[in-house]
């Protein structure tokens, strides 16, 4: 497909694409280094590359059939006319057969080159994608910072797509064009070295200018991409914020903003288009001028007898083979650069050490059963941020129900995440049955410790499948039983298709409270030795929450649980209350021992109780 039909703005994140802090990108390897690394990471891409390249050269030979045929035919006609005899029909016939045969062979080669190239590169890219995807799941940044997720997604999608797109369009074009230029030059040189030098002297400035022109074009596309982002943001406000706009009669203002963003995009897109039109036509212009120059110089040379008519005509046709490469050179370079940038970003992900990786074979497998947890001098700080948790020492004996309380932002959730190894402490260690969490094999850890996060995330499938996510082997009866034991059977029974109710993307067909119920059932079905609840019931209505809490009290009796709680009634029911304040554990003990101690807990509890007693 030609450059003319492709959209002016490449959709993928180009060089200006979002950077993800926390992902290594200090060093920017050069183009060749990137290519080398990239090919090492995807060795499939190099499978049979020699054969593919050789076939590409054969394909390029197809492009010189017409010039050569014209040369032979015209020479035949000219010589026979000079000799005053008819040209041999046998010779013409054989030439024709050879030419048609060459067309068929080179056509077949072109097919094979396409298929081989696509198969090799797409296999390499598919495994690169999958590898990067797996690696991202081992990065702490994924759970540390929700805003960076979008950029991580683009590492395994649009960034790889830019490479794939390059291979499909620019890459193939680059290989074929290079071969075509080589073959054309060789044939041209056999006809006339003077004219060949002339042609190259004319084209060289264009090849040299390709890089600077590419920079201009790339900058223009970069601006367009930014404008597309702004425009989408403005348009999305008119859709996502529809309620607010209506409530405040802000329609005209919103329209003005959308109009401005749309106009900015139009203006910059037109600029980019004009830039590309100019670079494109410079190739067209030079090719045409070369033809004129070759006619003049060739004829003058030929008068001396060096060049025949057939030679000259063939040469003019060979010059045409330069046109396409110089016309699309800028575009191909641009695609190449986007691809290199994309490749670099994928590598940056793979080069980021897996900070919460499975120790694998080296790790320990802990037998199931009673569980002891210990925090030893634990501190945690988000990369580049102040510590959110420090000096944490905590011992949780088996069969203890722990409530972690404290104000918003005190570090409760961080404590829960460290306990389940969503991330690793900056200093100190967390031990499970005396073993550092980092030494425990994932399979063993996830079997023994399960957390229910606050946000109750669901996958876009049925209710039953979402609950089964906790224990893939569970039958429908197991799922049903879990719901009954949690007192949620009535609720599930009231859904339109009961267990088979689809929950929608991210569970959006259910309310926030209902999503939390599913998340809870899922963790309960997983049947861990240690259940960690991070405000797992904050979004359900009070009556439901109380019901659920009681069910949980029942099922957690006799096992270890840690609950981050916003309601202090949870603390009242716990065996051990841990009070977190400004990143430190300030108090530990039972509710009874702390409530009257005059510390942070007394204050928190008094405020909570007062609110509850409001008549």
């Amino acid at each position: 497909m030609s450059a003319a039909t492709r959209p002016a703005a490449e959709p993928a994140g180009g060089p200006t694409g979002s950077a993800a802090p926390g992902i290594g990108q200090a060093e920017q390897p050069g183009m060749w280094a990137t290519l080398r690394r990239g090919l090492q990471l995807s060795p499939e891409m190099l499978v049979g590359i020699r054969v593919t390249l050789a076939l590409a050269v054969v394909t390029a030979l197809g492009r010189v059939i017409v010039p050569l045929a014209v040369q032979q035919t015209v020479d035949l006609l000219e010589t026979s006319r000079a000799a005053g005899a008819d040209p041999s029909t046998v010779r013409v016939g054989w030439l024709g057969v050879a030419a048609v045969g060459a067309v068929l062979v080179t056509g077949l080669c072109a097919y094979v080159v396409n298929v081989r190239l696509f198969r090799a590169t797409e296999s390499g890219l598919a495994s690169l994608r999958t590898r990067a995807f797996r690696h991202v799941h081992d990065l702490a940044v994924l759970t540390q910072n929700t805003e960076r997720r979008g950029s991580l997604v683009s590492r395994v999608t649009s960034d790889v797509d830019t490479i794939s797109q390059f291979v499909q369009f620019g890459g193939l074009l680059l290989v074929v064009s290079t071969a075509q230029l080589m073959v054309a030059t060789v044939v041209m040189a056999t006809i006339s070295w003077q004219l060949t030098v002339l042609a190259w002297i004319c084209f060289l400035p264009l090849f040299a200018a390709a890089r600077p022109m590419q920079r201009v074009v790339s900058a223009a596309y970069g601006r367009v991409r930014e404008r597309v982002g702004d425009m989408l943001a403005a348009v999305s406000e008119s859709v996502v914020g529809a309620d607010t706009i209506r409530a405040y009669a802000a329609e005209e203002r919103t329209q003005r903003r959308v109009d401005a963003a749309v106009e900015d995009h139009r203006r910059d897109a037109v600029r980019a288009q004009v830039t590309v039109a100019l670079t494109f036509s410079s190739g067209f212009l030079v090719s045409g001028l070369v033809v004129a120059a070759v006619v003049v110089v060739g004829t003058l040379l030929g008068v001396g007898g060096g060049i025949g008519l057939g030679d000259l005509l063939a040469f003019l046709l060979l010059v045409q083979l330069f046109t396409q490469p110089v016309q699309v050179g800028t575009e191909v370079l641009n695609e190449l650069q986007n691809a290199i940038a994309g490749w670099r970003r994928v590598m940056a992900v793979l080069d980021t050490p897996a900070d919460v990786a499975d120790p694998g074979e080296r790790g320990q497998v802990l037998p199931r059963g009673e569980i002891t947890v210990a925090f030893e001098g634990v501190a945690y700080a988000y990369p580049g941020g102040p510590p959110v948790l420090r000096d944490v020492d905590l011992e949780i004996p088996p069969r203890t129900r722990v409530a972690v309380v404290g104000e918003t932002g005190s570090g409760k959730t961080t404590l829960a995440k460290l306990l389940t190894r969503m991330m690793d402490p900056t200093t100190g260690r967390v031990r499970l049955d005396g073993v550092d969490l980092r030494e425990v094999r994932f399979a063993s850890l996830r079997e023994r410790v399960v957390m229910v996060p606050q946000e109750g995330f669901l996958f876009d499938t049925t209710l039953a499948e979402n609950i089964r996510y906790g224990r893939p082997a569970a039958t429908d009866d197991d799922v049903e039983l879990a719901l009954v034991e949690l007192g949620l059977a009535d609720w599930a029974g009231g859904l339109p298709h009961r267990l088979r109710t689809p929950v929608g993307q991210r569970g959006e067909s259910l309310s926030a409270g209902e999503r939390q119920l599913v998340a809870l059932a899922r963790a309960y079905l997983a049947d861990p030795d240690l259940l960690v609840l991070d405000e797992a019931t904050s979004a359900v209505d009070p009556a439901t929450e109380v019901r659920l809490q009681r069910a949980l009290d029942g099922v957690t009796a006799g096992r270890t649980s840690v609950a981050v709680a916003h309601r202090l009634s949870t603390a009242e029911a716990a065996d051990l209350v841990v009070v977190v304040d400004a990143g430190r554990i300030v108090e530990q003990g039972t509710h009874a021992s702390l409530v009257g101690a005059g510390g942070v807990y007394s204050r928190l509890h008094a405020a909570w109780a007062a609110q509850q007693r409001t008549p």
Binding site: T5, P7, V66, V70, T73, L77, D86, P87, G96, G107, L117, E122, S123, A126, R129, F133, H137, T143, A233, S236, E237, V239, A242, T244, Y248, E251, V258, H265, R266, V270, Q273, V274, A277, F280, S281, L289, V295, V296, G302, L309, Q320, T420, R421, A443, R446, M451, E455, F457, F459, Y469, G470, Q505, A519, D541, P542, A543, R567, S569, A609, Q612
Partner: protein
């Protein structure tokens, strides 16, 4: 995407209609683009013709040493060729630039029209359409509709080129021209076939790309769950399955290209060989000249690529038609809130009356799902009313009806005795403000977010904005922001916490000094202490405001003069909090759940 389907028989007709609409919308630039392209087309044909003429008149005699060819003649021939090239190149620039200008002008025009429709259409219409669909209507679908204008002027220029080339070929030699004029249309036809066969494959690859992206998004968004339950392996297998299918789809695209690209290359080559094969005996027989062979050979070479443009336009049409279908669905959607002429008073608290109000959502299956039924209610001017109910009882819908976000299906909503449907445009918003459950923050400054245009109209100044922020307990964090009121927040600016967003939304309502303020669970992410301060401020200075507040928290509810208890869309009880707690067991169960739980635990201890 439905454009994977084979093109319907009406595609050409419909596509032409869409193109005609585009031409009508942008007649000037489009005409210029076509003129530029015509220059390019005529110039390319002229190049082939001139090469033939130059060969016959100058080069051949010069090389053969027959005839009197001077150096001047040779230079003149070169100048002719160079001149044609310069004019043709100018045509190329004009064609490409103006085609882009036409296309982007059309895109911009229709994006503005689509968003105007969004802002006009009632919210009920919005709620029936998924957000993603509306965004792609305004973006991808508009783009798909007008993409055809990129190759359209080109292909019209190619038609001009074809006419000139046909004339030049026929003038050269009718028999050889017949071969050339068979090959060129064949290339166009094969290109159309190519596009038709390719389009479903490309669409499939695109779809799979979206699926790969969906899986990655879902898996990364749910990373905590994936990690917590140790499902990284299964997730990777799920992702790998999609990635492999995308790989296969891309390879299928490569295979199709491998078939058609060489075929399109081979056609002009075979055509030229045929011209030469037939041409030799004709030249020998004196029926044609070598110059004629040259003309036709060059025309075939020069036109082999541009002729495909006709195929691109025809191949693009299915996308054009589908894109336009979706865009026009939005543009043709009817319905907007009808307004009357009535004005509401400017000052003093508003009185509110609801008579037999009912509301239903239209579900995806087209059925009505009743949300509210027979709600009759009166709220005294200046009073504070709390609306309480379990999740899904219709509280938010009720809140929306009070400020006319939507109209009731049955019954009427009256402010100061005036049916909201009779109020003039914009009149309800000046009197009543709603703070919705999810605070929406615009990609704008703090000032812009609070004033929402009132500052530009000179209605509110910075003092008023600060005062509203103070009342909403937001002045503290705003003052701490790097640029104060000028700090950009929202999508791309500094991120605010949930509680800060809510307080900003409350300030947005308060700066308008509304006569009726509706808070739809608008303080859920705010600390209890802060919430109490906000509500106290409202009561303190709100003699001129009637407040309706949707809430769970007892602290909030207890501030209300009256409580309305909703259950499954109906008002089941009204009264003071104290009375309802005693009289209505269901109400008591809901609002006192925590306290009772605590009491029972204490009793067990």
């Amino acid at each position: 995407m439905p454009d994977a389907a084979p093109p319907a028989p009406g595609t050409l007709r419909q596509g032409v209609r869409v193109m005609a609409r585009g031409v009508r919308d942008e007649p000037r630039v489009f005409t210029l683009a076509v003129l530029g392209s015509a220059v390019y087309g005529a110039g390319t044909a002229a190049t082939g013709w001139a090469l033939g003429r130059v060969t016959g008149a100058v080069v051949q005699p010069a090389l053969a040493g027959t005839g009197d060819v001077t150096t001047g003649d040779i230079l003149l021939a070169g100048a002719l060729l160079a001149g044609i090239t310069v004019v043709t190149a100018a045509g190329v620039v004009a064609r490409r630039a103006l085609a882009g200008i036409t296309m982007y002008a059309l895109q911009a025009r229709y994006r503005r029209r689509v968003t105007r429709a969004y802002l006009r259409l009632p919210l009920a219409w919005h709620h029936r359409h998924p957000t993603g669909q509306l965004l792609s209507n305004a973006n991808a679908d508009v783009e798909a509709t007008w993409q055809v204008f990129a190759p359209l002027p080109f292909s019209i220029g190619v038609v001009v080129m074809l006419l000139f080339a046909a004339a030049a070929m026929l003038a050269a030699d009718p028999v050889l021209a017949a071969i050339g004029l068979t090959v060129l249309p064949t290339i166009a036809v094969v290109t159309v076939l190519y596009q038709r066969r390719m389009s479903p494959l490309v669409t499939r690859a695109q779809q799979l790309r979206a699926e790969v992206s969906d899986v990655a998004h879902e898996s990364f968004d749910g990373a905590q769950v994936v990690k917590a339950l140790g499902r990284e392996g299964e997730e990777t297998r799920r992702f790998a399955a999609r990635a492999d299918r995308l790989r296969d789809a891309n390879v299928a695209v490569g295979r199709m290209r491998g078939v058609f690209d060489p075929l399109l290359e081979a056609l002009p080559t075979l055509g030229t060989l045929a011209v030469l094969g037939v041409g030799v005996p004709r030249v020998v027989a004196g029926q044609a000249q070598i110059a004629d062979l040259v003309t036709i050979t060059f025309l075939l070479t020069l036109m082999a690529f541009p002729i495909r443009a006709i195929g691109w336009v025809l191949g693009e049409l299915p996308r054009t038609v589908v894109g336009w279908d979706r865009v026009s669905h939005v543009l043709d959607s009817t319905g907007q809130l009808e307004h009357g002429e009535a004005r509401l008073a400017d000052e003093g608290a508003a009185a509110l009356d609801l008579h037999g109000v009912g509301y239903a959502h239209v579900t995806e299956d087209g059925e009505d799902a009743t949300v509210l039924a027979d709600v009759t209610l009166d709220v005294r001017a200046g009073s504070t009313v709390a609306v309480v109910g379990a999740t899904g009882s219709g509280k938010s819908t009720l809140a929306g009806l009070l400020v006319r976000l939507v109209d009731p299906r049955d019954g009427t909503v009256l402010v100061d005795g005036v049916d909201l449907r009779d109020v003039r445009p914009g009149g309800v918003a000046t009197a009543a403000s709603l703070v919705p459950q999810g605070a929406f923050v615009f990609d704008d400054t703090i000032r812009g977010n609070v004033a929402l245009g009132l500052d530009e109209d000179g209605v509110v100044d910075d003092d008023a904005v600060w005062q509203a922020l103070r009342l909403a307990q937001a002045d503290g964090f705003v003052a701490a922001l790097p640029a104060g009121l000028d700090t950009r927040v929202g999508e791309r600016g500094a991120t605010l916490s949930g509680g800060q967003r809510q307080r900003l939304a409350i300030a947005r309502a308060l700066v308008r000094r509304p006569r009726l303020l509706v808070l739809d669970d608008a303080t859920s992410a705010v600390d209890t202490r802060v919430e109490a301060a906000i509500l106290a401020g409202l009561r303190g200075g709100s003699s001129g405001t009637t407040v309706v507040v949707v809430a769970y928290r007892k602290a909030t509810i207890s501030l209300a003069d009256e409580v309305v208890f909703l259950d499954r869309g109906r008002v089941v009880a009204r009264g003071t909090h104290a009375d309802l707690t005693v009289d209505d067991p269901a109400y008591a169960r809901l609002v006192q759940a925590y306290q009772r739980d605590a009491d029972e635990r204490a009793a067990r201890r």
